[in-house]
């Protein structure tokens, strides 16, 4: 009896999980489906699901109208650059807070996180003005710096929780075994920290890739990444849903593929430290 109850519970849980999963995934699926429809089918009412005339027309038009590769390249530079730059700052910061904590370490961590609670639009004006002054508007370097700063608190927090998990006794053992600071970092700490660093890098590439507020507001043409590429298809005069969907699909495809192949690392990264 008890057994059948647990089986029922299990199938109920599976059902709920799938429902939620599909609900979350549905907009992406619909975007991808729409990108293969004609404009007429895209706005058809009632909507057509799978039985329409599959076409690559939208992709051809999108490719013709705008230079996808340039946007893609900007996205890669901005997402990759901000992640690398962020890691250069976040690793030593998290490192020192995890291994040589001071009385104020917890406060500093909270203060950093509190900057994420500020609505981004609140600092748009000052940053916009600073960018004009420094001539950083619509440059890849400017955007890289801003995205790095936006994501830095999350990077430091994630790395901090990872480094915290490395038991201090192992480092002491290395010291007793004759390792100096250099050997300790090279042979013991780094190998143990690499999974944590990898998850943090992955998450930050994704966050930076998808960041739209700053990329849209601080770029015009030269430094515009894929988010701006999508936005350029939601023009005020008449929406072209199918073309917009094609552009969106092209923009999210690289990160979707990256996310798919690294899901194990990502889940570990996001839930790490939650359960010990």
């Amino acid at each position: 009896m008890a057994r059948s109850v647990t089986t029922q519970r299990k199938s109920l849980n599976t059902f709920i999980a799938w429902t939620i999963g599909l609900l979350i995934f549905f907009p992406i699926l619909w975007t991808i489906l729409t990108s293969f429809k004609t404009e007429a089918q895209a706005i058809a009412d009632p909507p057509v699901w799978f039985f329409f005339d599959w076409t690559l027309e939208n992709y051809r038009v999108v490719q013709e109208r705008s230079n996808y590769n340039r946007f893609l390249w900007n996205s890669i530079i901005i997402a990759g650059g901000s992640t690398i730059l962020g890691m250069i700052i976040a690793i030593p910061a998290a490192w020192s807070m995890a291994f040589v904590p001071s009385r104020r370490t917890k406060d500093i961590l909270l203060w950093m996180l509190s900057t994420k609670m500020l609505p981004a639009v609140g600092v748009l004006y000052p940053i916009y003005l600073i960018f004009i002054q420094l001539g950083l508007l619509d440059t890849r370097i400017g955007l890289t710096i801003v995205l790095m700063l936006i994501n830095l608190p999350i990077m430091v927090w994630m790395l901090y929780t990872y480094f915290k998990e490395i038991p201090g006794e192992i480092l002491e053992a290395a010291r007793m075994d004759g390792a100096g600071l250099k050997e300790e970092i090279l042979y013991v700490l780094t190998p143990m920290a690499i999974p944590g660093i990898a998850s943090t890098v992955l998450l930050n590439i994704i966050l930076a890739w998808n960041e739209a507020f700053w990329t849209l507001n601080l770029t015009a043409a030269r430094a515009a990444p894929l988010t701006a590429f999508i936005a350029s298809y939601s023009s005020p005069e008449g929406l072209f849903y199918a073309k917009l969907s094609a552009a969106s699909t092209m923009a999210i495809a690289p990160i979707l593929i990256l996310g798919w192949f690294s899901q194990k690392q990502l889940v570990r990264g996001l839930t790490f430290g939650a359960v010990k």
Binding site: P167, E169, I170, E172, A173, A174, R175, M176, D177, G178, A179, G180, E183, Y187, V188, P191, M192
Partner: protein, 334 residues
Amino acid sequence: MGQIVLEQVTKSFGDVTVIPPLDLIIEDGEFTVFVGPSGCGKSTLLRLIAGLEDVTSGEIRIDGTPSATTPPAKRGLAMVFQSYALYPHMTVRKNIAFPLRMAGLDRAEQDRRVEQAAAVLNLTDYLDRRPGQLSGGQRQRVAIGRAIVREPAAFLFDEPLSNLDAALRVGMRLEISELHNRLKTTMIYVTHDQVEAMTMADKIVVLRAGHIEQVGSPLELYKAPRNLFVAGFIGSPRMNLIGGAEAAKHNATTIGIRPEHISISAEEGAWSGVVGVSEHLGSDTFFHVQDTGLAETVTVRADGEVNFRHGDRIYLTPREERLHRFDEQGLRIA
């Protein structure tokens, strides 16, 4: 070789003094056990010797070399941690070889010493596994292997057996004692378990709140505890401590008598009481006797064959020559 001398060593964390000025000599080749209740400073003392904590003041000499400011890597000591502290990303072979690699030994010599240590510790079949694939006892052996390959001046053990189950602990206790007999290297062993201290040590250092309460061989501590604390701490079950009129009869504030030094009878004796809980170990039985008017309970060891039941009235007679007398400061009266 490994004589370790501590001179006026102190340690404070902020305003809190953990170790007040302390002097201690650990002779070369000696198996010394630091024992005391948790928070007594025994681990801190070990970590000061290891160099993992800096002394606040005082001098530590290892082999006559002043070492209080030498980094741990240069002290020539090896340490075995309570959590084993193995490198999870390295195989057993690499774990054991790590100190040799740090010392810059060539590969052939590293391999030779690792094989040798593995043979001694029954780890040969596990050399290519990672720590995560080993049992607790095997991990502890790897930790010991990592310590012995480098032939240190002294071994430091920080509660190495407390994560193991009871049966394994007894086995590892013997293995460590055998290792000491074979290597004849100085060993300092920290534990809160007085049974480990009694069975393994050449010399026991009993600590309380950073103070050394007594230093001596296990039997010295057992036979002549210097004060009430040591009397209560060493020996299992605990010594019975009795105050009041009974102690006054012996010109003392407190008298102590160990459970094994009281004879038990159904008919007559110096004291009388009622059997409370009985613990039958097979070879021995411990009776916890109540209503004696001396202390809350008096523990008595009897032969395993002696059979009293809960509630039986019995009579106890302490062996006079085994009575310990303590004055009002809790110090032993000679």
